[in-house]
Assembly symmetry: C2
Homo-oligomer: 173 residues x 2
DNA sequence: CGGAATTCGTAAGCAAGCTTATTATATCCC
DNA sequence: GGGATATAATAAGCTTGCTTACGAATTCCG
C-alpha cells in the first residue's frame, strides 16, 4: 500500500463536501470527481479499473442512494446487455476491497464512496428515510467510546456498523 | 403501558449478567429465566404468550446467537411439524413488538433478549466473528455523541443500528 | 349462547441476494 | 510467441427473507 498520509493528515476525510449534497448540486461534476478519484486509487494500488468495474461504479454514482445488486443490474441494463448477477458481484467485491464502495448492512445495498478515509477509521452512515440518500460522517470519537465500552467486556472490535436512520436536512423543510 | 420504572431506575439494564456468558454457564437456567421474564412482560402488558410464540422464543434461546428466520424454522422442526415461514414471522413480529427479540440488521437475523431496557435507550450489539454469539451493551452515551454529530449536519436521527463485529473474550484465549 | 376479534394454519408465490461451474478473453511476463 | 495469470461472460440454480390470500380455530365479551 502506498503512503498517502499527506492527504489524510488533515482529518478523517479529505474532501470537505457537505454530508448531504443539495438536491440541485452539480451532480455531473460530483460524478466526474468520484470517477477521477477511483482512477487515482486504482493507479496508486496498481489495480485494474476495467470497464465493468467502471460501469458498476458509475451506476452507483447515478444517485446518492445505496443500490441493491439487482438495482445495479437494472441500471446497467439501460446502457448495455443486461449483466448477470455474478458479474456485478465481482465488480462490487473489487470496489469494496479498494474502498470505493461501502456496503450498507441494514439495507443489503451498496454505496459509492469518494472519500479518502483511513481503512481502520470508523464511519457512520446517515440514511434518510425520505429520499434514501446516505451521508457519511466521521465517527472516530464515537468509535473510541464504543471501543472502550466493548473492550470493557473483553470484546475486541474489528469492524463497526453504525447506520442511523432519520431525515436529512433537505427533506425536512 | 405499565410503569415499571422501579426496575429501570438503577440503570439501562436490570440484569447484571455478563455481556458474553461463559461457554460453560448454566444455560438451562439462563433459558428458564428468559422465559420467565417473557411471561412477566406479556402478563404485564396483557399480551398473549401463546404456544408458538413461546416455541419461537425457545428456539432463539437455544443459543446466544442470532438466528435467521429459516434457522428458527429448522430449530422448531425438530420438535413439531415444520412451521410455515409466515407462522414464525408472525411470532417474531410479536416478540419484537414486545421487546423480547431484537433484529440484527447486519445479519438479517433475530436475537432473544432478556434485558429490561427502556425502549428509547439505545443498545449496541457486539457480534463475535468466531462463535457467533452476540452481546448487548448499553450505548446511551455513545448515542448522544452520535446524535450530536448527526444533527450537526442537519440530520434528525430516529433509529440507530450499532453493530460491532469482533472477537469475544471467550474466543480470544 | 353467539357475534366479533384475535390468532393460527395452509398453500402458494415472489424477489433479492448470492453461488457454482464452465468456457472464453484479455493481460502479463519471460 | 507462448504459457501462466487475471478477468469476464454464459448458464443455471440455490437459499433466504418475506408476502398475499383465505379459511379454520380460538378467545373475548356482552
Ligand atoms: Zn452528487
Ligand atoms: Zn432526504
Ligand atoms: Zn445462556
Ligand atoms: Zn466468541
Amino acid at each position: 500500500m502506498g503512503t498517502h498520509a499527506k492527504v489524510l493528515k488533515a482529518g478523517q476525510m479529505s474532501l470537505a463536501k457537505p454530508t448531504f449534497p443539495a438536491p440541485d448540486h452539480d451532480h455531473g461534476r460530483c460524478t466526474a470527481e468520484a470517477m477521477t478519484h477511483a482512477e487515482q486509487v486504482c493507479a496508486r494500488r496498481a489495480q485494474k479499473f476495467t470497464p465493468i468495474r467502471r460501469q458498476v461504479l458509475q451506476a452507483l454514482l447515478s444517485s446518492h442512494r445505496p443500490l441493491g445488486a439487482y438495482e445495479v443490474i437494472d441500471e446497467l441494463a439501460k446502457s448495455m446487455p443486461r449483466p448477470a448477477p455474478i458479474t456485478v458481484y465481482r465488480a462490487l467485491d473489487f470496489l469494496m476491497a479498494n474502498g470505493l464502495v461501502h456496503r450498507i448492512e441494514s439495507r443489503n445495498a451498496f454505496l459509492a464512496c469518494a472519500h479518502d478515509h483511513d481503512e481502520t477509521s470508523m464511519v457512520a452512515f446517515l440514511i434518510c428515510d425520505h429520499c434514501g440518500s446516505v451521508g457519511e460522517i466521521p465517527a472516530a470519537p464515537v468509535a473510541q467510546s464504543l471501543t472502550a465500552a466493548a473492550r470493557a467486556s473483553g470484546f475486541v472490535p474489528k469492524l463497526s456498523v453504525v447506520e442511523i436512520a432519520g431525515t436529512c436536512a433537505h427533506c425536512r423543510k
